[in-house]
Amino acid sequence: MTGGVFHFRPDDRYHAFITCCEEAAYGGGHLSGIPVAVKDNISTKGIMTTCASAILWGYVPPYNAYVVDRLKSEGAAIVGKTNMDEFGMGTTTENSAFGPTLNPIDTGRVPGGSSGGSAAAVAAGMVRMALGTDTGGSIRCPAAFCGIVGLKPTYGRVSRYGLIAYANSLEQIGPMAANVSDVNLLMSIITGHDPRDSTSYDQPYHHVPDPDIHGLRVGVPEEFFGKGVDPRVASVVWDAISRMENQGAEIISCRMPSMSAALAAYYVTCTSEASSNLARFDGVRYGPGADPKKQWHEAFQERRREGFGKEVRRRILLGTFALSSGYYGKYYAKAQTARQEVRDDFRRLFREVDVLAGPTMPTIAFKLGEKTDPLSMYLSDVLTVPANLAGVPAISVPCGTSEGMPVGLQIMGRWFEDERVVDAAFAFEQGGAS
Protein backbone atom coordinates (compact mmCIF):
# COMPACT_ATOMS: atom_id res chain seq x y z
CA MET A 1 0.00 0.00 0.00
CA THR A 2 1.41 3.37 -0.97
CA GLY A 3 -1.16 5.78 0.34
CA GLY A 4 -4.53 6.39 1.87
CA VAL A 5 -6.37 8.33 4.53
CA PHE A 6 -5.76 7.95 8.25
CA HIS A 7 -8.93 8.54 10.27
CA PHE A 8 -8.13 10.37 13.46
CA ARG A 9 -10.97 11.02 15.89
CA PRO A 10 -9.26 10.54 19.22
CA ASP A 11 -10.61 10.86 22.70
CA ASP A 12 -8.40 13.82 23.53
CA ARG A 13 -9.04 13.72 27.25
CA TYR A 14 -5.59 15.14 28.04
CA HIS A 15 -6.05 18.08 25.68
CA ALA A 16 -2.90 17.20 23.76
CA PHE A 17 -4.13 18.76 20.53
CA ILE A 18 -5.10 22.26 19.45
CA THR A 19 -6.13 21.01 16.00
CA CYS A 20 -6.98 17.45 14.97
CA CYS A 21 -7.03 16.44 11.31
CA GLU A 22 -9.85 13.92 11.18
CA GLU A 23 -8.89 12.67 7.75
CA ALA A 24 -5.14 12.76 7.33
CA ALA A 25 -3.94 11.80 3.87
CA TYR A 26 -0.68 9.91 3.62
CA GLY A 27 1.57 8.52 0.95
CA GLY A 28 4.29 5.93 0.56
CA GLY A 29 7.69 6.00 2.23
CA HIS A 30 9.48 5.15 5.43
CA LEU A 31 6.63 6.60 7.52
CA SER A 32 3.78 5.44 5.31
CA GLY A 33 0.52 5.60 7.22
CA ILE A 34 2.17 6.32 10.56
CA PRO A 35 0.28 8.97 12.56
CA VAL A 36 2.60 11.82 13.50
CA ALA A 37 1.68 14.85 15.61
CA VAL A 38 3.33 18.20 15.00
CA LYS A 39 3.84 20.93 17.59
CA ASP A 40 1.74 23.96 16.82
CA ASN A 41 4.68 26.31 16.25
CA ILE A 42 5.72 24.37 13.13
CA SER A 43 4.10 25.62 9.92
CA THR A 44 1.70 23.25 8.19
CA LYS A 45 0.27 24.37 4.86
CA GLY A 46 -3.51 24.47 5.04
CA ILE A 47 -3.62 23.50 8.74
CA MET A 48 -4.08 26.21 11.36
CA THR A 49 -0.87 27.01 13.24
CA THR A 50 -1.27 29.11 16.38
CA CYS A 51 1.78 28.68 18.63
CA ALA A 52 -0.97 28.31 21.28
CA SER A 53 -1.44 32.07 21.09
CA ALA A 54 -4.65 34.03 20.64
CA ILE A 55 -2.72 36.40 18.39
CA LEU A 56 -2.37 33.63 15.77
CA TRP A 57 -5.83 32.10 16.11
CA GLY A 58 -7.08 31.40 12.61
CA TYR A 59 -3.66 31.67 10.96
CA VAL A 60 -3.32 29.08 8.20
CA PRO A 61 0.25 28.96 6.84
CA PRO A 62 0.61 29.17 3.06
CA TYR A 63 3.69 26.91 3.18
CA ASN A 64 5.10 23.89 4.99
CA ALA A 65 8.06 23.87 7.31
CA TYR A 66 11.00 21.89 5.91
CA VAL A 67 10.38 19.11 8.43
CA VAL A 68 6.70 18.88 7.46
CA ASP A 69 7.61 18.51 3.79
CA ARG A 70 10.01 15.75 4.84
CA LEU A 71 7.29 13.96 6.87
CA LYS A 72 4.88 14.14 3.97
CA SER A 73 7.39 12.99 1.41
CA GLU A 74 8.02 9.90 3.58
CA GLY A 75 4.31 9.15 3.76
CA ALA A 76 3.48 10.22 7.33
CA ALA A 77 -0.12 11.00 8.26
CA ILE A 78 -0.03 14.38 9.98
CA VAL A 79 -2.93 13.96 12.35
CA GLY A 80 -2.85 17.19 14.27
CA LYS A 81 -1.15 20.14 15.88
CA THR A 82 -0.21 19.79 19.51
CA ASN A 83 -0.70 22.08 22.45
CA MET A 84 2.27 23.95 23.92
CA ASP A 85 3.25 26.87 26.06
CA GLU A 86 2.50 30.01 24.05
CA PHE A 87 5.35 30.50 21.55
CA GLY A 88 7.30 27.86 23.50
CA MET A 89 7.59 30.02 26.59
CA GLY A 90 7.10 27.75 29.56
CA THR A 91 7.91 24.48 31.27
CA THR A 92 4.40 23.12 31.88
CA THR A 93 2.13 23.74 28.83
CA GLU A 94 -0.06 25.76 31.20
CA ASN A 95 0.86 28.94 29.31
CA SER A 96 -1.34 27.94 26.37
CA ALA A 97 -4.08 30.38 25.35
CA PHE A 98 -6.27 27.32 24.89
CA GLY A 99 -5.86 25.72 28.30
CA PRO A 100 -3.34 23.27 29.75
CA THR A 101 -2.50 19.76 28.60
CA LEU A 102 -2.75 17.10 31.32
CA ASN A 103 -0.09 14.50 32.06
CA PRO A 104 -1.44 11.09 30.95
CA ILE A 105 0.40 9.38 33.85
CA ASP A 106 -1.34 11.57 36.43
CA THR A 107 -3.94 14.05 35.21
CA GLY A 108 -3.41 16.20 38.29
CA ARG A 109 0.05 17.02 36.99
CA VAL A 110 1.47 18.96 34.06
CA PRO A 111 3.05 17.14 31.10
CA GLY A 112 6.01 19.50 31.12
CA GLY A 113 6.68 21.99 28.41
CA SER A 114 6.77 23.58 26.15
CA SER A 115 6.16 20.56 23.85
CA GLY A 116 3.67 19.13 26.37
CA GLY A 117 0.98 18.29 23.83
CA SER A 118 3.40 16.28 21.70
CA ALA A 119 4.67 14.36 24.75
CA ALA A 120 1.16 13.67 26.05
CA ALA A 121 -0.05 12.50 22.61
CA VAL A 122 2.81 9.99 22.46
CA ALA A 123 2.54 8.91 26.11
CA ALA A 124 -1.21 8.35 25.77
CA GLY A 125 -0.67 6.23 22.65
CA MET A 126 -2.62 8.64 20.41
CA VAL A 127 0.28 8.86 17.96
CA ARG A 128 3.39 6.79 17.45
CA MET A 129 5.69 9.78 17.18
CA ALA A 130 5.63 13.56 17.33
CA LEU A 131 7.73 16.60 16.56
CA GLY A 132 8.60 19.00 19.31
CA THR A 133 10.89 21.99 19.51
CA ASP A 134 13.53 22.62 22.16
CA THR A 135 14.76 26.13 22.98
CA GLY A 136 15.83 25.49 26.58
CA GLY A 137 14.56 21.98 27.25
CA SER A 138 11.13 22.00 25.63
CA ILE A 139 11.51 18.52 24.12
CA ARG A 140 13.46 16.90 26.94
CA CYS A 141 11.38 18.25 29.85
CA PRO A 142 8.01 16.91 28.66
CA ALA A 143 9.68 13.68 27.52
CA ALA A 144 11.00 13.23 31.07
CA PHE A 145 7.72 14.19 32.75
CA CYS A 146 5.60 11.90 30.52
CA GLY A 147 8.00 8.95 30.43
CA ILE A 148 8.92 9.02 26.74
CA VAL A 149 12.08 9.66 24.68
CA GLY A 150 12.92 13.07 23.22
CA LEU A 151 15.98 14.29 21.34
CA LYS A 152 17.19 17.85 20.91
CA PRO A 153 19.48 17.57 17.89
CA THR A 154 22.74 19.44 17.42
CA TYR A 155 22.05 23.03 16.46
CA GLY A 156 22.03 23.17 12.67
CA ARG A 157 21.23 19.53 12.08
CA VAL A 158 17.50 20.11 11.47
CA SER A 159 16.23 23.00 9.36
CA ARG A 160 14.27 25.65 11.23
CA TYR A 161 12.56 26.81 8.04
CA GLY A 162 8.88 27.19 8.90
CA LEU A 163 9.42 27.01 12.65
CA ILE A 164 7.83 30.17 14.03
CA ALA A 165 10.84 31.71 15.73
CA TYR A 166 11.11 32.39 19.43
CA ALA A 167 14.89 32.33 20.07
CA ASN A 168 16.71 31.47 16.85
CA SER A 169 20.18 30.89 18.24
CA LEU A 170 18.93 28.27 20.73
CA GLU A 171 16.06 26.32 19.23
CA GLN A 172 15.92 23.09 17.27
CA ILE A 173 13.09 20.89 16.06
CA GLY A 174 13.45 17.30 17.25
CA PRO A 175 11.79 13.88 17.46
CA MET A 176 9.71 12.49 20.34
CA ALA A 177 8.47 8.89 20.63
CA ALA A 178 7.85 6.09 23.10
CA ASN A 179 11.21 4.45 22.37
CA VAL A 180 14.68 5.25 21.05
CA SER A 181 14.18 3.34 17.79
CA ASP A 182 11.26 5.54 16.77
CA VAL A 183 13.16 8.68 17.79
CA ASN A 184 16.01 7.43 15.61
CA LEU A 185 13.65 6.78 12.70
CA LEU A 186 12.00 10.21 12.91
CA MET A 187 15.41 11.88 13.24
CA SER A 188 16.54 10.22 10.02
CA ILE A 189 13.53 11.72 8.23
CA ILE A 190 13.78 15.34 9.43
CA THR A 191 17.52 15.97 9.04
CA GLY A 192 19.19 17.16 5.88
CA HIS A 193 20.51 20.32 4.35
CA ASP A 194 18.03 23.12 3.65
CA PRO A 195 19.35 26.29 2.00
CA ARG A 196 16.35 28.20 3.36
CA ASP A 197 17.78 27.99 6.89
CA SER A 198 21.14 29.76 6.86
CA THR A 199 22.23 27.76 9.93
CA SER A 200 21.37 24.41 8.35
CA TYR A 201 24.37 22.10 8.22
CA ASP A 202 24.74 19.47 5.54
CA GLN A 203 25.06 16.35 7.62
CA PRO A 204 22.29 13.81 7.03
CA TYR A 205 21.42 11.29 9.72
CA HIS A 206 21.34 7.65 8.65
CA HIS A 207 21.92 5.51 11.67
CA VAL A 208 21.20 2.08 13.07
CA PRO A 209 21.35 2.33 16.88
CA ASP A 210 24.09 0.23 18.46
CA PRO A 211 23.46 -0.97 22.02
CA ASP A 212 27.11 -1.73 22.79
CA ILE A 213 28.52 0.89 25.15
CA HIS A 214 31.61 -0.98 26.30
CA GLY A 215 34.31 1.57 26.94
CA LEU A 216 32.00 4.56 26.48
CA ARG A 217 33.32 7.32 28.74
CA VAL A 218 30.33 8.88 30.54
CA GLY A 219 31.06 12.12 32.37
CA VAL A 220 28.83 13.03 35.29
CA PRO A 221 29.10 16.72 36.20
CA GLU A 222 28.53 17.16 39.92
CA GLU A 223 26.59 20.37 39.22
CA PHE A 224 23.83 18.21 37.70
CA PHE A 225 23.17 16.84 41.18
CA GLY A 226 23.47 20.18 42.94
CA LYS A 227 21.11 22.49 44.78
CA GLY A 228 17.49 22.32 43.66
CA VAL A 229 17.70 18.73 42.41
CA ASP A 230 15.23 16.55 44.31
CA PRO A 231 17.32 13.88 46.11
CA ARG A 232 14.79 11.20 45.13
CA VAL A 233 15.17 12.11 41.46
CA ALA A 234 18.96 12.24 41.87
CA SER A 235 18.93 8.77 43.40
CA VAL A 236 16.92 7.29 40.48
CA VAL A 237 19.36 8.85 38.00
CA TRP A 238 22.44 7.63 39.92
CA ASP A 239 20.98 4.13 39.78
CA ALA A 240 20.57 4.54 36.04
CA ILE A 241 24.16 5.70 35.65
CA SER A 242 25.45 2.73 37.61
CA ARG A 243 23.45 0.45 35.31
CA MET A 244 25.31 2.04 32.39
CA GLU A 245 28.51 1.19 34.25
CA ASN A 246 27.33 -2.43 34.55
CA GLN A 247 26.83 -2.42 30.79
CA GLY A 248 30.49 -1.56 30.32
CA ALA A 249 30.54 2.23 30.33
CA GLU A 250 33.25 4.04 32.25
CA ILE A 251 31.78 6.60 34.66
CA ILE A 252 33.90 9.69 35.24
CA SER A 253 33.10 12.43 37.76
CA CYS A 254 33.65 15.91 36.40
CA ARG A 255 32.78 19.53 36.94
CA MET A 256 30.99 22.14 34.88
CA PRO A 257 31.52 25.46 36.65
CA SER A 258 29.76 27.45 33.92
CA MET A 259 26.47 25.98 35.19
CA SER A 260 26.30 28.68 37.85
CA ALA A 261 25.53 31.40 35.30
CA ALA A 262 24.08 29.27 32.50
CA LEU A 263 20.44 29.72 33.44
CA ALA A 264 20.74 33.52 33.68
CA ALA A 265 22.64 33.58 30.39
CA TYR A 266 19.89 31.52 28.82
CA TYR A 267 17.04 33.73 30.01
CA VAL A 268 18.77 36.96 29.00
CA THR A 269 19.49 35.52 25.56
CA CYS A 270 16.10 33.94 24.86
CA THR A 271 14.09 36.94 26.05
CA SER A 272 16.28 39.28 23.99
CA GLU A 273 15.77 37.21 20.87
CA ALA A 274 12.05 36.88 21.64
CA SER A 275 11.61 40.64 21.95
CA SER A 276 12.88 41.00 18.41
CA ASN A 277 11.19 37.93 16.90
CA LEU A 278 7.77 38.64 18.35
CA ALA A 279 7.74 42.22 17.08
CA ARG A 280 6.20 40.84 13.88
CA PHE A 281 2.94 39.98 15.64
CA ASP A 282 1.00 43.17 15.15
CA GLY A 283 -2.22 41.75 13.75
CA VAL A 284 -1.68 43.24 10.28
CA ARG A 285 -0.43 40.34 8.15
CA TYR A 286 -2.00 37.51 10.15
CA GLY A 287 -4.03 37.15 13.27
CA PRO A 288 -6.96 39.15 14.48
CA GLY A 289 -6.30 42.38 12.55
CA ALA A 290 -5.32 45.83 13.82
CA ASP A 291 -7.84 48.64 13.60
CA PRO A 292 -6.76 50.71 10.55
CA LYS A 293 -8.63 53.74 11.86
CA LYS A 294 -6.46 53.93 14.95
CA GLN A 295 -2.96 55.33 15.36
CA TRP A 296 -0.12 52.84 14.70
CA HIS A 297 1.18 52.43 18.27
CA GLU A 298 -2.26 52.55 19.85
CA ALA A 299 -3.59 49.84 17.54
CA PHE A 300 -0.57 47.57 18.03
CA GLN A 301 -0.47 47.98 21.79
CA GLU A 302 -4.12 47.10 22.01
CA ARG A 303 -3.72 44.06 19.78
CA ARG A 304 -0.61 42.78 21.54
CA ARG A 305 -2.01 43.32 25.04
CA GLU A 306 -5.08 41.26 24.13
CA GLY A 307 -3.35 38.72 21.91
CA PHE A 308 -0.34 37.74 24.02
CA GLY A 309 -0.50 35.93 27.35
CA LYS A 310 1.26 37.24 30.44
CA GLU A 311 4.40 35.11 30.17
CA VAL A 312 4.93 36.17 26.55
CA ARG A 313 4.52 39.83 27.47
CA ARG A 314 6.86 39.37 30.44
CA ARG A 315 9.57 37.87 28.23
CA ILE A 316 9.20 40.55 25.55
CA LEU A 317 9.55 43.18 28.30
CA LEU A 318 12.60 41.48 29.81
CA GLY A 319 14.26 41.15 26.42
CA THR A 320 13.50 44.71 25.41
CA PHE A 321 15.01 45.82 28.71
CA ALA A 322 18.12 43.62 28.35
CA LEU A 323 18.81 45.08 24.92
CA SER A 324 17.98 48.67 25.80
CA SER A 325 20.49 51.44 25.87
CA GLY A 326 22.42 51.53 29.14
CA TYR A 327 21.62 47.90 30.07
CA TYR A 328 22.97 46.00 27.07
CA GLY A 329 26.45 45.69 28.58
CA LYS A 330 25.12 44.66 31.97
CA TYR A 331 22.86 41.89 30.69
CA TYR A 332 23.12 40.83 27.05
CA ALA A 333 26.88 41.21 26.61
CA LYS A 334 27.60 39.40 29.90
CA ALA A 335 25.16 36.66 28.98
CA GLN A 336 27.13 36.03 25.79
CA THR A 337 30.33 35.73 27.80
CA ALA A 338 28.65 33.25 30.12
CA ARG A 339 27.33 31.38 27.09
CA GLN A 340 30.86 31.12 25.74
CA GLU A 341 31.97 29.71 29.09
CA VAL A 342 29.34 26.97 28.73
CA ARG A 343 30.65 26.11 25.25
CA ASP A 344 34.21 26.10 26.59
CA ASP A 345 33.20 23.76 29.43
CA PHE A 346 31.62 21.30 26.99
CA ARG A 347 34.64 21.50 24.69
CA ARG A 348 37.01 20.80 27.58
CA LEU A 349 34.90 17.96 29.00
CA PHE A 350 34.43 16.31 25.61
CA ARG A 351 38.18 15.86 25.35
CA GLU A 352 37.99 13.57 28.38
CA VAL A 353 34.59 11.95 28.02
CA ASP A 354 32.35 10.82 25.14
CA VAL A 355 29.01 11.84 26.60
CA LEU A 356 27.73 13.60 29.72
CA ALA A 357 24.88 12.23 31.80
CA GLY A 358 22.60 13.51 34.55
CA PRO A 359 18.94 14.13 35.31
CA THR A 360 16.85 15.82 32.61
CA MET A 361 14.77 17.72 35.16
CA PRO A 362 15.48 18.48 38.81
CA THR A 363 12.06 17.16 39.89
CA ILE A 364 9.18 15.02 38.73
CA ALA A 365 6.21 16.67 36.93
CA PHE A 366 4.71 19.56 38.90
CA LYS A 367 1.11 19.54 40.01
CA LEU A 368 -1.19 21.64 37.84
CA GLY A 369 -1.10 25.23 39.07
CA GLU A 370 1.89 24.56 41.34
CA LYS A 371 4.32 26.92 39.60
CA THR A 372 2.88 30.40 39.78
CA ASP A 373 6.03 32.44 40.27
CA PRO A 374 7.92 33.05 36.98
CA LEU A 375 11.40 32.80 38.49
CA SER A 376 10.76 29.46 40.18
CA MET A 377 9.48 28.18 36.83
CA TYR A 378 12.65 29.41 35.10
CA LEU A 379 14.85 27.68 37.68
CA SER A 380 13.45 24.28 36.71
CA ASP A 381 15.21 24.61 33.32
CA VAL A 382 18.66 24.67 34.89
CA LEU A 383 19.73 21.20 33.68
CA THR A 384 18.43 21.49 30.12
CA VAL A 385 19.60 24.96 29.03
CA PRO A 386 23.35 24.21 28.85
CA ALA A 387 22.85 21.99 25.76
CA ASN A 388 20.95 24.78 24.00
CA LEU A 389 23.50 27.46 24.93
CA ALA A 390 26.28 25.30 23.47
CA GLY A 391 24.24 23.76 20.63
CA VAL A 392 25.17 20.17 21.53
CA PRO A 393 22.77 17.21 21.10
CA ALA A 394 20.90 15.98 24.17
CA ILE A 395 18.38 13.20 24.70
CA SER A 396 16.03 12.33 27.56
CA VAL A 397 15.25 8.65 28.08
CA PRO A 398 13.01 7.22 30.83
CA CYS A 399 15.10 5.72 33.66
CA GLY A 400 12.71 4.94 36.49
CA THR A 401 10.11 6.56 38.69
CA SER A 402 9.86 8.68 41.79
CA GLU A 403 6.51 8.92 43.62
CA GLY A 404 5.04 6.96 40.72
CA MET A 405 6.08 9.59 38.16
CA PRO A 406 8.65 9.10 35.38
CA VAL A 407 12.21 10.36 35.72
CA GLY A 408 14.35 11.16 32.68
CA LEU A 409 18.03 10.40 32.20
CA GLN A 410 19.66 13.12 30.10
CA ILE A 411 22.60 12.25 27.85
CA MET A 412 24.49 15.03 26.06
CA GLY A 413 27.11 14.55 23.38
CA ARG A 414 29.64 16.32 21.19
CA TRP A 415 28.52 18.62 18.40
CA PHE A 416 27.14 16.58 15.48
CA GLU A 417 27.42 13.32 17.43
CA ASP A 418 23.66 12.88 17.74
CA GLU A 419 24.24 9.26 16.74
CA ARG A 420 26.39 8.58 19.81
CA VAL A 421 23.81 10.15 22.11
CA VAL A 422 21.11 7.98 20.53
CA ASP A 423 23.32 4.90 20.92
CA ALA A 424 23.89 5.58 24.61
CA ALA A 425 20.15 6.05 25.17
CA PHE A 426 19.42 2.92 23.11
CA ALA A 427 21.89 0.86 25.11
CA PHE A 428 20.36 2.08 28.33
CA GLU A 429 16.84 1.40 27.11
CA GLN A 430 17.71 -2.10 25.88
CA GLY A 431 19.85 -3.24 28.74
CA GLY A 432 19.65 -0.94 31.70
CA ALA A 433 16.19 0.53 31.82
CA SER A 434 14.76 -2.10 34.17
Binding site: G289, Q295, Q301, R304
Partner: protein, 89 residues
Protein backbone atom coordinates in the same frame (compact mmCIF):
# COMPACT_ATOMS: atom_id res chain seq x y z
CA UNK B 1 15.92 48.53 41.31
CA UNK B 2 13.41 48.94 38.51
CA UNK B 3 10.39 51.13 39.20
CA UNK B 4 6.90 51.08 37.76
CA UNK B 5 7.67 53.99 35.49
CA UNK B 6 10.59 52.03 33.99
CA UNK B 7 8.36 49.06 33.23
CA UNK B 8 5.82 51.43 31.71
CA UNK B 9 8.55 52.91 29.51
CA UNK B 10 9.77 49.49 28.35
CA UNK B 11 6.19 48.44 27.62
CA UNK B 12 5.88 51.54 25.46
CA UNK B 13 9.13 50.72 23.60
CA UNK B 14 7.94 47.16 22.99
CA UNK B 15 4.39 48.22 22.00
CA UNK B 16 3.20 45.57 24.39
CA UNK B 17 0.33 47.45 26.02
CA UNK B 18 0.18 47.73 29.80
CA UNK B 19 -2.79 48.25 32.09
CA UNK B 20 -2.19 50.34 35.21
CA UNK B 21 -3.55 47.44 37.26
CA UNK B 22 -0.80 45.12 35.97
CA UNK B 23 2.16 47.39 36.66
CA UNK B 24 2.81 46.45 40.27
CA UNK B 25 2.86 42.72 39.54
CA UNK B 26 5.09 43.04 36.46
CA UNK B 27 7.48 45.36 38.31
CA UNK B 28 7.83 43.03 41.31
CA UNK B 29 8.50 40.03 39.06
CA UNK B 30 10.91 42.07 36.97
CA UNK B 31 12.97 42.95 40.02
CA UNK B 32 13.02 39.39 41.26
CA UNK B 33 14.23 38.14 37.88
CA UNK B 34 16.81 40.92 37.39
CA UNK B 35 18.09 40.21 40.86
CA UNK B 36 18.69 36.62 39.78
CA UNK B 37 20.42 37.82 36.59
CA UNK B 38 22.93 39.47 38.92
CA UNK B 39 24.75 36.12 38.95
CA UNK B 40 26.17 37.19 35.59
CA UNK B 41 28.08 39.94 37.42
CA UNK B 42 29.67 37.69 40.00
CA UNK B 43 30.44 34.62 38.01
CA UNK B 44 32.87 35.71 35.37
CA UNK B 45 35.56 38.05 36.55
CA UNK B 46 38.35 36.70 34.42
CA UNK B 47 38.34 37.31 30.69
CA UNK B 48 36.50 34.70 28.71
CA UNK B 49 38.00 33.12 25.67
CA UNK B 50 36.94 35.02 22.58
CA UNK B 51 35.72 33.28 19.51
CA UNK B 52 36.11 35.19 16.30
CA UNK B 53 32.87 35.40 14.36
CA UNK B 54 32.70 35.74 10.63
CA UNK B 55 30.00 35.70 8.02
CA UNK B 56 29.57 33.19 5.25
CA UNK B 57 27.68 34.65 2.33
CA UNK B 58 25.65 32.73 -0.19
CA UNK B 59 25.29 33.73 -3.81
CA UNK B 60 22.43 36.11 -4.47
CA UNK B 61 20.38 33.89 -6.74
CA UNK B 62 16.77 34.75 -7.56
CA UNK B 63 14.31 32.08 -6.47
CA UNK B 64 10.57 31.63 -6.28
CA UNK B 65 8.44 33.07 -3.51
CA UNK B 66 4.86 32.88 -2.30
CA UNK B 67 2.16 34.39 -4.50
CA UNK B 68 0.63 37.73 -3.53
CA UNK B 69 -2.66 35.92 -2.98
CA UNK B 70 -1.08 33.46 -0.53
CA UNK B 71 0.69 36.21 1.36
CA UNK B 72 -2.46 38.28 1.77
CA UNK B 73 -4.69 35.32 2.61
CA UNK B 74 -4.31 35.64 6.38
CA UNK B 75 -4.68 39.42 6.62
CA UNK B 76 -7.93 40.82 8.02
CA UNK B 77 -7.61 44.11 6.15
CA UNK B 78 -6.30 44.36 2.60
CA UNK B 79 -6.73 46.91 -0.18
CA UNK B 80 -5.74 46.64 -3.85
CA UNK B 81 -3.35 43.79 -3.16
CA UNK B 82 -1.72 45.46 -0.15
CA UNK B 83 -1.93 45.00 3.61
CA UNK B 84 -3.95 47.68 5.32
CA UNK B 85 -2.23 48.90 8.49
CA UNK B 86 -3.15 51.46 11.14
CA UNK B 87 -2.44 55.12 10.49
CA UNK B 88 1.17 56.20 10.89
CA UNK B 89 0.29 59.86 11.36
Amino acid sequence: MIEEKDVEHIAELADIGMERSELAEFTAQFNEILDYFGVLDQAWTEASSEVEEYNIFRDDEPAGSLSQEDVLANAKETEDGFFRAPRVM
